[in-house]
Point group: C2
Chain length 303, copies 2
Amino acid sequence: MEEMPPFESLLALTAQSVEDLLRRLLDERVREGEIVRPERLLSAMKHGVLNGGKRLRPFLVMESAALFDAQGTAALRVAAALECVHCYSLIHDDLPAMDDDDLRRGQPTVHRAFDEATAILAGDSLLTYAFDIIADTETELPATTRAELVLRLARAAGVGGMAGGQALDLMAARQRPDEAGIVQLQAMKTGALIRFACEAGAIVGGAGPNDRERLSAFGAAIGLAFQLADDLLDLTASSEAMGKATGKDAAAGKATLAALHGEAWSRNQLAGLVAQAEELLEPYEDKAAVLKQAARFVAERNY
Amino acid sequence: MEEMPPFESLLALTAQSVEDLLRRLLDERVREGEIVRPERLLSAMKHGVLNGGKRLRPFLVMESAALFDAQGTAALRVAAALECVHCYSLIHDDLPAMDDDDLRRGQPTVHRAFDEATAILAGDSLLTYAFDIIADTETELPATTRAELVLRLARAAGVGGMAGGQALDLMAARQRPDEAGIVQLQAMKTGALIRFACEAGAIVGGAGPNDRERLSAFGAAIGLAFQLADDLLDLTASSEAMGKATGKDAAAGKATLAALHGEAWSRNQLAGLVAQAEELLEPYEDKAAVLKQAARFVAERNY
Protein backbone atom coordinates (compact mmCIF):
# COMPACT_ATOMS: atom_id res chain seq x y z
CA MET A 1 0.00 0.00 0.00
CA GLU A 2 2.99 2.30 0.57
CA GLU A 3 3.34 3.11 -3.11
CA MET A 4 -0.25 4.08 -3.79
CA PRO A 5 -1.32 7.69 -3.99
CA PRO A 6 -2.74 8.84 -0.64
CA PHE A 7 -6.41 8.63 -1.70
CA GLU A 8 -6.07 5.12 -3.08
CA SER A 9 -4.39 4.06 0.18
CA LEU A 10 -7.36 5.36 2.16
CA LEU A 11 -9.75 3.57 -0.16
CA ALA A 12 -7.77 0.35 0.19
CA LEU A 13 -7.81 0.65 3.99
CA THR A 14 -11.60 0.93 4.08
CA ALA A 15 -11.90 -1.92 1.59
CA GLN A 16 -9.85 -4.06 3.96
CA SER A 17 -12.06 -3.19 6.95
CA VAL A 18 -15.20 -4.01 4.98
CA GLU A 19 -13.79 -7.33 3.75
CA ASP A 20 -12.67 -8.24 7.27
CA LEU A 21 -16.13 -7.53 8.67
CA LEU A 22 -17.93 -9.40 5.88
CA ARG A 23 -15.62 -12.40 6.26
CA ARG A 24 -16.21 -12.44 10.01
CA LEU A 25 -19.98 -12.13 9.62
CA LEU A 26 -20.22 -14.84 6.97
CA ASP A 27 -18.01 -17.18 8.99
CA GLU A 28 -20.12 -16.89 12.13
CA ARG A 29 -21.25 -20.47 11.98
CA VAL A 30 -23.99 -20.46 14.54
CA ARG A 31 -26.04 -17.71 15.97
CA GLU A 32 -28.78 -18.43 18.47
CA GLY A 33 -27.76 -22.05 18.37
CA GLU A 34 -29.68 -23.12 15.28
CA ILE A 35 -28.53 -21.51 12.08
CA VAL A 36 -27.08 -23.87 9.50
CA ARG A 37 -25.54 -22.26 6.45
CA PRO A 38 -25.09 -24.72 3.59
CA GLU A 39 -21.41 -24.79 2.70
CA ARG A 40 -21.72 -24.49 -1.07
CA LEU A 41 -24.14 -21.55 -0.90
CA LEU A 42 -21.96 -19.81 1.67
CA SER A 43 -18.90 -20.31 -0.57
CA ALA A 44 -20.76 -18.80 -3.51
CA MET A 45 -21.76 -15.79 -1.39
CA LYS A 46 -18.13 -15.32 -0.39
CA HIS A 47 -16.97 -15.69 -3.98
CA GLY A 48 -19.37 -12.93 -4.93
CA VAL A 49 -18.70 -10.54 -2.08
CA LEU A 50 -15.06 -11.11 -1.04
CA ASN A 51 -13.72 -10.35 -4.46
CA GLY A 52 -11.28 -7.50 -4.08
CA GLY A 53 -13.60 -4.77 -5.28
CA LYS A 54 -12.75 -1.11 -4.72
CA ARG A 55 -15.54 -0.84 -2.14
CA LEU A 56 -16.38 2.65 -3.30
CA ARG A 57 -19.91 2.60 -1.90
CA PRO A 58 -18.77 1.53 1.58
CA PHE A 59 -16.09 4.23 1.45
CA LEU A 60 -18.74 6.83 0.70
CA VAL A 61 -20.83 5.64 3.65
CA MET A 62 -17.82 5.84 5.99
CA GLU A 63 -16.62 9.24 4.82
CA SER A 64 -20.12 10.75 4.78
CA ALA A 65 -20.70 9.47 8.31
CA ALA A 66 -17.36 10.94 9.39
CA LEU A 67 -18.59 14.42 8.39
CA PHE A 68 -21.05 14.13 11.26
CA ASP A 69 -18.63 12.52 13.70
CA ALA A 70 -20.46 9.19 13.63
CA GLN A 71 -18.81 6.32 15.46
CA GLY A 72 -17.14 4.01 12.99
CA THR A 73 -18.52 0.58 13.87
CA ALA A 74 -22.14 1.33 13.01
CA ALA A 75 -21.10 3.05 9.78
CA LEU A 76 -18.91 0.06 8.89
CA ARG A 77 -21.79 -2.38 9.33
CA VAL A 78 -24.06 -0.22 7.17
CA ALA A 79 -21.24 0.02 4.62
CA ALA A 80 -20.84 -3.77 4.61
CA ALA A 81 -24.59 -4.23 4.18
CA LEU A 82 -24.60 -1.90 1.20
CA GLU A 83 -21.72 -3.83 -0.35
CA CYS A 84 -23.77 -7.03 0.00
CA VAL A 85 -26.52 -5.38 -2.03
CA HIS A 86 -24.05 -4.14 -4.64
CA CYS A 87 -22.45 -7.58 -4.98
CA TYR A 88 -25.80 -9.37 -5.15
CA SER A 89 -26.68 -7.12 -8.08
CA LEU A 90 -23.42 -7.99 -9.85
CA ILE A 91 -24.03 -11.72 -9.37
CA HIS A 92 -27.53 -11.52 -10.84
CA ASP A 93 -26.55 -9.08 -13.62
CA ASP A 94 -23.81 -11.49 -14.73
CA LEU A 95 -26.26 -14.42 -15.14
CA PRO A 96 -26.76 -15.91 -18.62
CA ALA A 97 -30.34 -14.59 -18.70
CA MET A 98 -29.04 -11.07 -18.07
CA ASP A 99 -25.66 -9.78 -19.26
CA ASP A 100 -24.15 -13.28 -19.57
CA ASP A 101 -20.66 -12.39 -18.31
CA ASP A 102 -17.97 -14.98 -17.58
CA LEU A 103 -15.51 -12.64 -15.87
CA ARG A 104 -15.81 -10.16 -13.05
CA ARG A 105 -12.69 -8.43 -11.72
CA GLY A 106 -10.57 -10.99 -13.53
CA GLN A 107 -12.25 -13.93 -11.81
CA PRO A 108 -14.96 -16.31 -13.03
CA THR A 109 -18.41 -14.95 -12.24
CA VAL A 110 -20.36 -16.82 -9.55
CA HIS A 111 -22.47 -18.83 -11.99
CA ARG A 112 -19.29 -19.88 -13.84
CA ALA A 113 -17.41 -20.79 -10.64
CA PHE A 114 -20.46 -22.61 -9.21
CA ASP A 115 -23.68 -23.00 -11.20
CA GLU A 116 -26.64 -20.85 -12.18
CA ALA A 117 -29.01 -21.99 -9.44
CA THR A 118 -26.37 -21.40 -6.78
CA ALA A 119 -25.60 -17.97 -8.21
CA ILE A 120 -29.27 -16.98 -8.08
CA LEU A 121 -29.50 -18.14 -4.46
CA ALA A 122 -26.18 -16.51 -3.50
CA GLY A 123 -27.49 -13.19 -4.82
CA ASP A 124 -30.80 -13.65 -3.02
CA SER A 125 -28.98 -14.50 0.19
CA LEU A 126 -26.62 -11.52 0.03
CA LEU A 127 -29.54 -9.17 -0.57
CA THR A 128 -31.40 -10.68 2.37
CA TYR A 129 -28.32 -10.58 4.56
CA ALA A 130 -27.88 -6.85 4.00
CA PHE A 131 -31.13 -6.20 5.86
CA ASP A 132 -30.11 -8.66 8.58
CA ILE A 133 -26.88 -6.72 9.18
CA ILE A 134 -28.57 -3.30 9.38
CA ALA A 135 -31.56 -4.36 11.49
CA ASP A 136 -29.43 -6.26 14.02
CA THR A 137 -28.95 -4.49 17.35
CA GLU A 138 -25.21 -5.13 16.84
CA THR A 139 -25.47 -2.14 14.52
CA GLU A 140 -25.36 0.22 17.46
CA LEU A 141 -27.83 2.83 16.29
CA PRO A 142 -31.26 3.76 17.60
CA ALA A 143 -34.01 1.50 16.24
CA THR A 144 -35.57 4.45 14.39
CA THR A 145 -32.26 4.93 12.55
CA ARG A 146 -31.93 1.24 11.72
CA ALA A 147 -35.51 1.12 10.42
CA GLU A 148 -34.92 4.29 8.38
CA LEU A 149 -31.76 2.80 6.84
CA VAL A 150 -33.60 -0.42 5.95
CA LEU A 151 -36.33 1.62 4.27
CA ARG A 152 -33.93 3.83 2.30
CA LEU A 153 -31.80 0.89 1.22
CA ALA A 154 -34.87 -1.07 0.12
CA ARG A 155 -36.09 1.90 -1.93
CA ALA A 156 -32.64 2.45 -3.48
CA ALA A 157 -32.30 -1.24 -4.38
CA GLY A 158 -35.84 -2.14 -5.42
CA VAL A 159 -38.26 -1.73 -8.32
CA GLY A 160 -38.04 2.07 -8.05
CA GLY A 161 -34.23 1.98 -7.85
CA MET A 162 -31.45 -0.40 -8.86
CA ALA A 163 -33.56 -3.43 -9.86
CA GLY A 164 -35.89 -1.18 -11.85
CA GLY A 165 -32.87 0.37 -13.55
CA GLN A 166 -31.57 -3.05 -14.52
CA ALA A 167 -35.00 -3.86 -16.00
CA LEU A 168 -34.85 -0.65 -18.04
CA ASP A 169 -31.30 -1.51 -19.11
CA LEU A 170 -32.40 -4.91 -20.39
CA MET A 171 -35.00 -3.21 -22.57
CA ALA A 172 -32.62 -0.48 -23.72
CA ALA A 173 -31.05 -2.51 -26.53
CA ARG A 174 -34.46 -2.95 -28.17
CA GLN A 175 -36.20 0.24 -27.12
CA ARG A 176 -33.34 2.72 -27.67
CA PRO A 177 -34.24 5.24 -24.98
CA ASP A 178 -33.68 8.94 -25.69
CA GLU A 179 -31.23 10.97 -23.64
CA ALA A 180 -33.75 11.55 -20.83
CA GLY A 181 -34.44 7.83 -20.81
CA ILE A 182 -30.74 7.02 -20.51
CA VAL A 183 -30.34 9.48 -17.64
CA GLN A 184 -33.36 7.95 -15.86
CA LEU A 185 -32.06 4.42 -16.38
CA GLN A 186 -28.62 5.26 -15.04
CA ALA A 187 -29.95 7.26 -12.07
CA MET A 188 -31.78 4.10 -11.06
CA LYS A 189 -29.34 1.35 -12.07
CA THR A 190 -26.14 2.78 -10.61
CA GLY A 191 -27.12 6.16 -9.19
CA ALA A 192 -29.57 5.00 -6.53
CA LEU A 193 -27.06 2.96 -4.49
CA ILE A 194 -24.32 5.60 -4.69
CA ARG A 195 -26.78 8.23 -3.60
CA PHE A 196 -27.93 5.98 -0.78
CA ALA A 197 -24.30 5.49 0.29
CA CYS A 198 -23.84 9.21 0.88
CA GLU A 199 -27.27 9.75 2.44
CA ALA A 200 -26.78 6.70 4.66
CA GLY A 201 -23.61 8.23 6.09
CA ALA A 202 -25.62 11.31 7.05
CA ILE A 203 -28.39 9.16 8.57
CA VAL A 204 -25.86 7.11 10.57
CA GLY A 205 -24.36 10.38 11.76
CA GLY A 206 -27.75 11.64 12.94
CA ALA A 207 -27.66 14.58 10.49
CA GLY A 208 -30.72 16.81 10.11
CA PRO A 209 -32.86 17.02 6.94
CA ASN A 210 -30.76 19.77 5.30
CA ASP A 211 -27.52 17.84 5.65
CA ARG A 212 -29.21 14.65 4.50
CA GLU A 213 -30.53 16.43 1.44
CA ARG A 214 -27.09 17.88 0.73
CA LEU A 215 -25.32 14.53 1.00
CA SER A 216 -28.01 12.95 -1.13
CA ALA A 217 -27.43 15.60 -3.83
CA PHE A 218 -23.68 15.00 -3.55
CA GLY A 219 -24.33 11.29 -4.05
CA ALA A 220 -26.52 11.98 -7.07
CA ALA A 221 -23.76 14.10 -8.67
CA ILE A 222 -21.03 11.53 -8.19
CA GLY A 223 -23.42 8.78 -9.23
CA LEU A 224 -23.79 10.52 -12.58
CA ALA A 225 -20.02 10.98 -12.76
CA PHE A 226 -19.45 7.33 -11.90
CA GLN A 227 -21.67 6.13 -14.71
CA LEU A 228 -20.25 8.55 -17.25
CA ALA A 229 -16.70 7.50 -16.34
CA ASP A 230 -17.78 3.86 -16.60
CA ASP A 231 -19.27 4.39 -20.05
CA LEU A 232 -16.12 6.22 -21.15
CA LEU A 233 -14.01 3.29 -19.96
CA ASP A 234 -16.24 0.85 -21.82
CA LEU A 235 -15.72 3.00 -24.90
CA THR A 236 -11.95 3.41 -24.60
CA ALA A 237 -10.25 0.95 -22.21
CA SER A 238 -9.02 -2.56 -22.83
CA SER A 239 -10.62 -5.66 -21.35
CA GLU A 240 -7.30 -6.52 -19.71
CA ALA A 241 -7.13 -3.27 -17.72
CA MET A 242 -10.75 -3.68 -16.56
CA GLY A 243 -10.67 -7.38 -15.63
CA LYS A 244 -13.98 -7.80 -17.46
CA ALA A 245 -15.33 -7.59 -20.98
CA THR A 246 -15.39 -4.08 -22.49
CA GLY A 247 -16.99 -2.58 -25.58
CA LYS A 248 -20.09 -4.50 -24.57
CA ASP A 249 -22.43 -1.52 -24.54
CA ALA A 250 -21.97 -0.83 -28.22
CA ALA A 251 -22.01 -4.55 -29.07
CA ALA A 252 -25.30 -4.90 -27.21
CA GLY A 253 -26.70 -1.87 -29.00
CA LYS A 254 -26.97 0.02 -25.72
CA ALA A 255 -26.75 3.77 -26.04
CA THR A 256 -24.72 5.63 -23.41
CA LEU A 257 -24.23 9.36 -22.97
CA ALA A 258 -20.50 8.89 -23.64
CA ALA A 259 -21.20 7.14 -26.94
CA LEU A 260 -23.88 9.68 -27.84
CA HIS A 261 -21.77 12.78 -27.23
CA GLY A 262 -18.18 11.55 -27.52
CA GLU A 263 -15.12 11.69 -25.31
CA ALA A 264 -14.51 15.46 -25.21
CA TRP A 265 -18.09 16.27 -24.18
CA SER A 266 -17.94 13.50 -21.56
CA ARG A 267 -14.71 14.77 -19.98
CA ASN A 268 -16.15 18.27 -19.87
CA GLN A 269 -19.35 16.98 -18.30
CA LEU A 270 -17.33 15.03 -15.73
CA ALA A 271 -15.43 18.16 -14.72
CA GLY A 272 -18.73 19.97 -14.23
CA LEU A 273 -20.12 17.19 -12.05
CA VAL A 274 -16.98 17.20 -9.89
CA ALA A 275 -17.26 20.98 -9.43
CA GLN A 276 -20.90 20.60 -8.48
CA ALA A 277 -20.08 17.83 -6.02
CA GLU A 278 -17.30 19.85 -4.42
CA GLU A 279 -19.54 22.88 -4.09
CA LEU A 280 -22.16 20.84 -2.26
CA LEU A 281 -19.51 19.97 0.33
CA GLU A 282 -18.37 23.57 0.98
CA PRO A 283 -20.23 23.90 4.31
CA TYR A 284 -18.14 21.08 5.78
CA GLU A 285 -14.85 22.81 4.96
CA ASP A 286 -11.70 20.77 5.67
CA LYS A 287 -13.67 17.86 7.04
CA ALA A 288 -14.88 17.09 3.52
CA ALA A 289 -11.40 16.97 1.94
CA VAL A 290 -11.46 13.20 1.49
CA LEU A 291 -14.98 13.16 0.05
CA LYS A 292 -13.92 15.78 -2.48
CA GLN A 293 -11.01 13.55 -3.45
CA ALA A 294 -13.52 10.72 -3.81
CA ALA A 295 -15.53 12.81 -6.29
CA ARG A 296 -12.41 13.42 -8.37
CA PHE A 297 -11.39 9.77 -8.14
CA VAL A 298 -14.80 8.65 -9.38
CA ALA A 299 -14.63 10.98 -12.37
CA GLU A 300 -11.00 10.36 -13.29
CA ARG A 301 -10.48 6.67 -12.50
CA ASN A 302 -9.01 4.60 -15.30
CA TYR A 303 -9.91 1.11 -14.00
CA MET B 1 -67.80 -17.62 -0.42
CA GLU B 2 -71.15 -18.60 1.16
CA GLU B 3 -70.69 -22.26 0.29
CA MET B 4 -67.21 -22.74 1.69
CA PRO B 5 -66.68 -24.36 5.08
CA PRO B 6 -66.29 -21.69 7.78
CA PHE B 7 -62.49 -21.94 8.05
CA GLU B 8 -61.94 -21.67 4.31
CA SER B 9 -64.17 -18.58 4.26
CA LEU B 10 -62.01 -16.95 6.91
CA LEU B 11 -58.88 -17.84 4.98
CA ALA B 12 -60.38 -16.41 1.78
CA LEU B 13 -61.31 -13.18 3.57
CA THR B 14 -57.74 -12.66 4.75
CA ALA B 15 -56.41 -13.56 1.31
CA GLN B 16 -58.63 -10.85 -0.15
CA SER B 17 -57.36 -8.24 2.34
CA VAL B 18 -53.75 -9.15 1.60
CA GLU B 19 -54.29 -9.00 -2.18
CA ASP B 20 -56.08 -5.66 -1.86
CA LEU B 21 -53.23 -4.18 0.15
CA LEU B 22 -50.54 -5.57 -2.17
CA ARG B 23 -52.38 -4.29 -5.24
CA ARG B 24 -52.73 -0.85 -3.66
CA LEU B 25 -49.05 -0.75 -2.63
CA LEU B 26 -47.78 -1.87 -6.02
CA ASP B 27 -50.03 0.60 -7.82
CA GLU B 28 -48.82 3.58 -5.81
CA ARG B 29 -47.15 5.21 -8.76
CA VAL B 30 -45.16 7.88 -7.07
CA ARG B 31 -43.93 8.25 -3.57
CA GLU B 32 -41.81 11.22 -2.58
CA GLY B 33 -42.19 12.57 -6.10
CA GLU B 34 -39.48 10.59 -7.80
CA ILE B 35 -40.04 6.88 -7.91
CA VAL B 36 -40.42 5.39 -11.37
CA ARG B 37 -41.40 1.76 -11.54
CA PRO B 38 -40.77 0.20 -14.94
CA GLU B 39 -44.08 -1.12 -16.23
CA ARG B 40 -42.90 -4.53 -17.39
CA LEU B 41 -41.08 -5.31 -14.13
CA LEU B 42 -44.07 -4.13 -12.10
CA SER B 43 -46.39 -6.35 -14.18
CA ALA B 44 -44.12 -9.33 -13.55
CA MET B 45 -44.13 -8.62 -9.80
CA LYS B 46 -47.93 -8.50 -9.85
CA HIS B 47 -48.11 -11.70 -11.88
CA GLY B 48 -45.99 -13.37 -9.23
CA VAL B 49 -47.69 -12.01 -6.15
CA LEU B 50 -51.35 -11.39 -7.10
CA ASN B 51 -51.93 -14.96 -8.12
CA GLY B 52 -54.80 -16.27 -6.04
CA GLY B 53 -52.69 -18.14 -3.51
CA LYS B 54 -54.20 -19.38 -0.26
CA ARG B 55 -52.19 -16.77 1.65
CA LEU B 56 -51.65 -19.20 4.49
CA ARG B 57 -48.59 -17.39 5.86
CA PRO B 58 -50.37 -14.01 6.02
CA PHE B 59 -53.30 -15.74 7.69
CA LEU B 60 -50.98 -17.13 10.36
CA VAL B 61 -49.51 -13.66 10.97
CA MET B 62 -52.98 -12.15 11.34
CA GLU B 63 -54.36 -14.86 13.61
CA SER B 64 -51.24 -15.01 15.78
CA ALA B 65 -51.35 -11.23 16.16
CA ALA B 66 -55.04 -11.43 17.09
CA LEU B 67 -54.15 -13.65 20.07
CA PHE B 68 -52.42 -10.61 21.54
CA ASP B 69 -55.10 -8.09 20.51
CA ALA B 70 -52.80 -6.43 17.97
CA GLN B 71 -54.43 -3.82 15.76
CA GLY B 72 -55.08 -5.25 12.32
CA THR B 73 -53.42 -2.74 9.96
CA ALA B 74 -49.86 -3.29 11.16
CA ALA B 75 -50.35 -7.06 11.16
CA LEU B 76 -51.78 -6.89 7.64
CA ARG B 77 -48.75 -4.99 6.34
CA VAL B 78 -46.37 -7.49 7.93
CA ALA B 79 -48.50 -10.29 6.47
CA ALA B 80 -48.29 -8.71 3.00
CA ALA B 81 -44.53 -8.30 3.33
CA LEU B 82 -44.16 -11.97 4.23
CA GLU B 83 -46.25 -12.95 1.20
CA CYS B 84 -43.88 -10.91 -0.99
CA VAL B 85 -41.00 -13.01 0.32
CA HIS B 86 -42.93 -16.25 -0.21
CA CYS B 87 -43.87 -15.30 -3.77
CA TYR B 88 -40.34 -14.14 -4.62
CA SER B 89 -39.12 -17.59 -3.59
CA LEU B 90 -41.70 -19.27 -5.83
CA ILE B 91 -40.66 -17.12 -8.81
CA HIS B 92 -36.98 -17.98 -8.36
CA ASP B 93 -37.63 -21.66 -7.54
CA ASP B 94 -39.62 -22.00 -10.77
CA LEU B 95 -36.73 -20.73 -12.95
CA PRO B 96 -35.17 -23.07 -15.53
CA ALA B 97 -31.93 -23.18 -13.52
CA MET B 98 -33.86 -24.35 -10.45
CA ASP B 99 -37.03 -26.50 -10.61
CA ASP B 100 -37.88 -25.46 -14.19
CA ASP B 101 -41.63 -25.26 -13.75
CA ASP B 102 -44.01 -23.90 -16.40
CA LEU B 103 -47.12 -23.78 -14.24
CA ARG B 104 -47.91 -22.33 -10.85
CA ARG B 105 -51.46 -22.38 -9.53
CA GLY B 106 -52.68 -23.20 -13.03
CA GLN B 107 -51.03 -20.13 -14.56
CA PRO B 108 -47.77 -19.75 -16.51
CA THR B 109 -44.86 -19.11 -14.15
CA VAL B 110 -43.36 -15.60 -14.28
CA HIS B 111 -40.44 -16.58 -16.53
CA ARG B 112 -42.90 -18.25 -18.95
CA ALA B 113 -45.31 -15.31 -18.95
CA PHE B 114 -42.45 -12.77 -19.25
CA ASP B 115 -38.83 -13.87 -19.60
CA GLU B 116 -36.08 -15.22 -17.38
CA ALA B 117 -34.31 -11.93 -16.73
CA THR B 118 -37.57 -10.23 -15.79
CA ALA B 119 -38.48 -13.14 -13.51
CA ILE B 120 -35.15 -12.88 -11.69
CA LEU B 121 -35.62 -9.13 -11.23
CA ALA B 122 -39.28 -9.51 -10.21
CA GLY B 123 -38.22 -11.93 -7.48
CA ASP B 124 -35.40 -9.63 -6.37
CA SER B 125 -37.79 -6.68 -6.29
CA LEU B 126 -40.47 -8.48 -4.28
CA LEU B 127 -37.88 -9.60 -1.74
CA THR B 128 -36.57 -6.06 -1.46
CA TYR B 129 -40.08 -4.63 -1.27
CA ALA B 130 -40.93 -6.81 1.73
CA PHE B 131 -38.37 -4.95 3.83
CA ASP B 132 -39.62 -1.62 2.47
CA ILE B 133 -43.15 -2.44 3.65
CA ILE B 134 -42.12 -3.48 7.16
CA ALA B 135 -39.59 -0.69 7.79
CA ASP B 136 -41.95 2.05 6.57
CA THR B 137 -43.50 4.16 9.36
CA GLU B 138 -46.85 3.41 7.69
CA THR B 139 -46.51 0.09 9.48
CA GLU B 140 -47.69 1.64 12.72
CA LEU B 141 -45.44 -0.16 15.15
CA PRO B 142 -42.60 1.12 17.32
CA ALA B 143 -39.29 1.33 15.42
CA THR B 144 -37.81 -1.36 17.69
CA THR B 145 -40.60 -3.71 16.61
CA ARG B 146 -40.15 -2.88 12.91
CA ALA B 147 -36.39 -3.45 13.16
CA GLU B 148 -36.95 -6.72 15.02
CA LEU B 149 -39.38 -7.92 12.34
CA VAL B 150 -36.91 -7.02 9.58
CA LEU B 151 -34.20 -8.98 11.37
CA ARG B 152 -36.36 -12.07 11.99
CA LEU B 153 -37.69 -12.07 8.43
CA ALA B 154 -34.18 -11.71 6.99
CA ARG B 155 -32.98 -14.65 9.10
CA ALA B 156 -35.98 -16.78 8.16
CA ALA B 157 -35.54 -16.03 4.45
CA GLY B 158 -31.76 -16.02 4.08
CA VAL B 159 -28.81 -18.41 3.89
CA GLY B 160 -29.67 -19.84 7.32
CA GLY B 161 -33.35 -20.20 6.39
CA MET B 162 -35.40 -20.49 3.22
CA ALA B 163 -32.68 -19.72 0.65
CA GLY B 164 -30.30 -22.12 2.40
CA GLY B 165 -33.04 -24.76 2.39
CA GLN B 166 -33.51 -24.33 -1.34
CA ALA B 167 -29.75 -24.76 -1.82
CA LEU B 168 -29.89 -28.00 0.19
CA ASP B 169 -32.90 -29.11 -1.84
CA LEU B 170 -31.02 -28.59 -5.11
CA MET B 171 -28.27 -30.87 -3.83
CA ALA B 172 -30.69 -33.46 -2.44
CA ALA B 173 -31.21 -35.31 -5.72
CA ARG B 174 -27.48 -36.05 -5.94
CA GLN B 175 -26.55 -36.25 -2.27
CA ARG B 176 -29.55 -38.22 -0.99
CA PRO B 177 -29.71 -36.82 2.53
CA ASP B 178 -30.64 -39.14 5.39
CA GLU B 179 -33.79 -38.61 7.43
CA ALA B 180 -32.14 -35.99 9.65
CA GLY B 181 -30.91 -34.21 6.52
CA ILE B 182 -34.42 -34.18 5.04
CA VAL B 183 -35.87 -32.76 8.25
CA GLN B 184 -33.18 -30.06 8.33
CA LEU B 185 -33.74 -29.16 4.68
CA GLN B 186 -37.49 -28.88 5.13
CA ALA B 187 -37.25 -26.92 8.37
CA MET B 188 -35.25 -24.36 6.43
CA LYS B 189 -36.91 -24.44 3.01
CA THR B 190 -40.56 -24.26 4.07
CA GLY B 191 -40.47 -24.32 7.86
CA ALA B 192 -38.60 -21.08 8.48
CA LEU B 193 -41.16 -18.75 6.88
CA ILE B 194 -44.15 -20.51 8.47
CA ARG B 195 -42.47 -20.31 11.82
CA PHE B 196 -41.68 -16.64 11.22
CA ALA B 197 -45.35 -16.04 10.34
CA CYS B 198 -46.50 -17.22 13.76
CA GLU B 199 -43.69 -15.55 15.68
CA ALA B 200 -44.22 -12.32 13.73
CA GLY B 201 -47.83 -12.20 14.90
CA ALA B 202 -46.62 -12.40 18.48
CA ILE B 203 -44.00 -9.69 17.84
CA VAL B 204 -46.58 -7.41 16.21
CA GLY B 205 -48.82 -8.01 19.23
CA GLY B 206 -46.04 -7.03 21.61
CA ALA B 207 -45.97 -10.47 23.24
CA GLY B 208 -43.29 -11.33 25.80
CA PRO B 209 -40.51 -13.89 25.24
CA ASN B 210 -42.54 -16.85 26.54
CA ASP B 211 -45.43 -16.22 24.20
CA ARG B 212 -43.06 -15.57 21.31
CA GLU B 213 -41.34 -18.88 21.99
CA ARG B 214 -44.70 -20.65 22.17
CA LEU B 215 -45.93 -19.21 18.88
CA SER B 216 -42.59 -20.00 17.28
CA ALA B 217 -42.90 -23.63 18.43
CA PHE B 218 -46.48 -23.72 17.12
CA GLY B 219 -45.17 -22.42 13.77
CA ALA B 220 -42.45 -25.09 13.73
CA ALA B 221 -45.03 -27.84 14.32
CA ILE B 222 -47.39 -26.71 11.57
CA GLY B 223 -44.41 -26.07 9.29
CA LEU B 224 -43.51 -29.74 9.59
CA ALA B 225 -47.15 -30.68 9.04
CA PHE B 226 -47.36 -28.40 6.00
CA GLN B 227 -44.37 -30.04 4.36
CA LEU B 228 -45.48 -33.56 5.17
CA ALA B 229 -48.94 -32.83 3.74
CA ASP B 230 -47.31 -31.34 0.66
CA ASP B 231 -45.12 -34.39 0.15
CA LEU B 232 -48.16 -36.65 0.59
CA LEU B 233 -50.02 -34.64 -2.04
CA ASP B 234 -47.07 -34.89 -4.42
CA LEU B 235 -47.14 -38.65 -3.84
CA THR B 236 -50.88 -39.13 -4.24
CA ALA B 237 -52.73 -36.20 -5.87
CA SER B 238 -53.26 -35.41 -9.53
CA SER B 239 -51.61 -32.51 -11.31
CA GLU B 240 -55.07 -31.21 -12.21
CA ALA B 241 -56.18 -30.86 -8.59
CA MET B 242 -52.94 -29.10 -7.65
CA GLY B 243 -52.67 -26.68 -10.59
CA LYS B 244 -49.01 -27.62 -10.92
CA ALA B 245 -46.91 -30.64 -11.80
CA THR B 246 -46.99 -33.48 -9.25
CA GLY B 247 -44.93 -36.62 -8.76
CA LYS B 248 -41.91 -34.40 -9.32
CA ASP B 249 -40.14 -35.32 -6.10
CA ALA B 250 -39.79 -38.96 -7.05
CA ALA B 251 -38.97 -38.10 -10.66
CA ALA B 252 -36.22 -35.77 -9.46
CA GLY B 253 -34.89 -38.46 -7.14
CA LYS B 254 -35.72 -36.33 -4.12
CA ALA B 255 -36.43 -38.29 -0.98
CA THR B 256 -39.29 -37.08 1.23
CA LEU B 257 -40.43 -38.39 4.59
CA ALA B 258 -43.77 -39.33 3.02
CA ALA B 259 -42.03 -41.39 0.33
CA LEU B 260 -39.64 -42.90 2.86
CA HIS B 261 -42.28 -44.03 5.37
CA GLY B 262 -45.47 -44.30 3.32
CA GLU B 263 -48.95 -42.88 3.57
CA ALA B 264 -50.14 -44.51 6.80
CA TRP B 265 -47.09 -43.40 8.78
CA SER B 266 -47.43 -39.91 7.31
CA ARG B 267 -51.09 -39.56 8.29
CA ASN B 268 -50.30 -40.76 11.79
CA GLN B 269 -47.40 -38.31 12.02
CA LEU B 270 -49.64 -35.49 10.82
CA ALA B 271 -52.18 -36.26 13.55
CA GLY B 272 -49.41 -36.10 16.13
CA LEU B 273 -48.20 -32.74 14.86
CA VAL B 274 -51.72 -31.32 14.96
CA ALA B 275 -52.14 -32.52 18.55
CA GLN B 276 -48.80 -30.94 19.47
CA ALA B 277 -49.77 -27.66 17.79
CA GLU B 278 -53.13 -27.58 19.56
CA GLU B 279 -51.52 -28.26 22.90
CA LEU B 280 -49.13 -25.33 22.43
CA LEU B 281 -52.17 -23.08 22.06
CA GLU B 282 -53.94 -24.26 25.23
CA PRO B 283 -53.01 -21.15 27.28
CA TYR B 284 -54.96 -18.94 24.85
CA GLU B 285 -58.18 -20.93 25.30
CA ASP B 286 -61.04 -19.90 23.00
CA LYS B 287 -59.05 -17.11 21.42
CA ALA B 288 -56.93 -19.71 19.66
CA ALA B 289 -59.86 -21.59 18.09
CA VAL B 290 -59.13 -20.33 14.57
CA LEU B 291 -55.40 -21.05 14.82
CA LYS B 292 -56.20 -24.60 15.89
CA GLN B 293 -58.42 -24.94 12.83
CA ALA B 294 -55.49 -23.64 10.78
CA ALA B 295 -53.29 -26.44 12.14
CA ARG B 296 -55.87 -29.03 11.13
CA PHE B 297 -56.34 -27.38 7.73
CA VAL B 298 -52.61 -27.47 7.05
CA ALA B 299 -52.41 -31.17 7.91
CA GLU B 300 -55.58 -32.27 6.13
CA ARG B 301 -55.73 -30.06 3.04
CA ASN B 302 -56.13 -31.84 -0.25
CA TYR B 303 -55.02 -29.06 -2.60
